[in-house]
């Protein structure tokens, strides 16, 4: 149970292709993250899975059943909106009981399940309150409890952490991950925050302009980006890209270091690096500068551990290098990674 298959799904709003021919399948019980910049179609895709948006074309299958044109209530999915969409006129208890009552579950069972769900999210003492009396974190828990109370086969989340402050967000992320592991429900999670995506996802789907650019584990996405979009969207600062004839050479800032600090059994490539600006951030140091001849110098960034206290002066040029195994190559025209170099 809990398998979602998306086959050639498209959604057009007038001339805009919000989602353009997407194929995707979840594995049972996995935490799948849809990652992309705003307007990339990730939320539209999620809303189509939920059934509140109808695809222009394509087929949607949940648990071996075609659900493309089914209304949401017939899909056995649960969803948590960015705004949490708690019913403002109902108490927390009634909010959580709502999906059960809508399905005609008898009151005794409703009470038992609400208490179970409330216990799971530690909100038992809030049951008599109205949503407006809750803090942001509490609201999020209520929304999660309401989503889980009827044990859906798929769990959809639309940027549920974006309304929390930074401090709360980290702990909420951890809780969410642990809870999902315990419940084992297939989860599709939409975010534009790569830290969330890397931290939460079993697999990440990177989307841009309505298309899927890459599907893979966080490690694959980071280490072997499928194209230059993924390479520059994931990672902060993004992957450095240098033009070399018809090839784009890519390397992560942390692999770009002073020659002496690079170990490379397969050899290294060195570049003269003219430092223009440095930022000391405590645990690490970001060094901005240029590589190459004056006429077509390229801007690159190096990220050095804070422990590396080597003095680097602005305006001077130092020999920097990248190990060969850390170099990635992309076609200059298409931006795609050379085949055989990504998984």
């Amino acid at each position: 149970m809990g398998r979602v298959e998306i086959r050639a799904i498209s959604k057009h709003f007038g001339a805009v292709r919000a989602v353009d021919h997407v194929d995707l399948a979840t594995r049972e019980g996995e935490f799948l993250v849809l990652l992309g910049p705003s307007g990339c179609g990730k939320t539209t895709l999620l809303r189509m899975i939920a059934g509140i948006e109808e695809p222009t074309s394509g087929v949607l299958v949940i648990d071996e059943r075609v659900v493309t044109h089914l209304p949401p209530r017939m899909r056995n999915i649960a969803m948590v909106f960015q705004s949490y969409a708690l019913y403002p006129h109902m108490t927390v208890y009634k909010n959580i009981a709502f999906p059960l009552r809508a399905r005609g579950v008898d009151e005794e069972a409703v009470r038992r399940k609400v208490e179970w769900a409330a216990g799971m999210f530690k909100i038992g003492r809030l049951l008599d309150r109205k949503p407006r009396e809750l803090s942001g974190g509490e609201r999020q828990r209520v929304a999660l409890a309401r989503a889980m109370v009827r044990e859906p086969s798929v769990f959809l989340l639309d940027e549920p952490l974006s309304n929390l402050d930074a401090l709360l967000r980290a702990s909420a992320r951890e809780e969410l991950r642990q809870f999902q592991r315990r419940a084992g429900v297939t989860t599709i999670y939409v975010t534009h925050d790569q830290v969330e995506a890397m931290g939460l996802g079993d697999r990440i789907v990177v989307m841009n302009q309505g298309k899927v650019r890459q599907v893979g584990t966080p490690l694959e996405i980071y280490q072997w980006p499928a194209d230059t979009f993924v390479a520059t969207f994931v990672g902060s600062p993004p992957m450095n890209l240098l033009e070399q004839e018809d090839v784009l050479l890519g390397f992560r800032p942390e692999t770009f270091r002073p020659v002496d600090a690079v170990e490379g059994s397969e050899g290294v490539v060195t570049f003269p690096f003219e430092v223009t600006y440095t930022e000391y951030l405590g645990a690490e140091r970001l060094v901005y500068g240029n590589v190459g001849e004056k006429s077509h110098a390229r801007h690159v960034v190096s990220r050095l551990p804070g422990s590396l206290t080597l003095p680097l002066e602005t305006g001077k040029t130092y020999p920097f290098a990248v190990a060969r195994r850390d170099l990635r190559r992309f076609h200059r025209k298409s931006g795609l990674a050379f085949s055989g170099e990504s998984t």
Partner: protein
Amino acid sequence: MANIGKIARRGGLYTLLGGFALFGAFPFYWMVIATFKEDHDLFSPLNNPFLFNEPPTLDHLRLLFFETHFVGYLLNTLLVGLAVVVITLATAVPAAYALARWARGWGETLGIGIFLTYLVPPTILFIPLSRFASFFGLQESLWSLILVYPTFTIPFCTWLLMGFFKTIPKDIEEQAMIDGLSRLGAMTKVVLPLGISGILTVVVFSFTLSMHEFIYALTFISVSAKKTVSIGVPTELVRGDVFQWGPLMAGALIASIPVAVVYTFFLDRFVAGFTMGAVK
């Protein structure tokens, strides 16, 4: 010095407001006076009209309630008002919801179109509508009013409710659909309870406007017992040229004040809808 200036400004403000309040309310003040004044006192041009020169009396009220159709007018008004409220709600609520939610683009246009029909005045429509009424055999029947009054309540209330429904986040009803309700169920079980203040505004508005209405009632109804308050009082309590001032004023007062109190509470919302959201 500053203090004196402040007091003077305060005084000026109170004088100004007092003057306006007097201007707005004094016809109603005369109603109060005339309602309880002895005829003899009322009709002596030399007596101070602002005061009771003889002890107050309840005669006019007795006359109004027991010797005219006034109670009937009130009941007729109530009946027509309630029926119009029901028809308006049944028509405007679904239309407003559908226009606010599902109809992108053309929904807004159709909504404005519906609102504009509110500007077509009864003074243009009452002649053809009087023919409608006689065609359906509804002359001298309250049903003619019940049929016709929604011409001014439906367009306006649809517009007003559109505004209300747009303020309810879409997420909430999408959530309700995911939680197991149908499209229509999400509207009736979640959106309508949240829009209750808008619906209440529409109830008050439809009722008060039905009660205020004059032209159609004047045109369609001439049998005294079938009249509503707004025409019964000014036409029936005047016999030829003889005004029965006491009962007349009493009737006007009694019918005015309750509806005015309720209306005042809803005036701001009413005006907000009225000015097409130009007033936030």
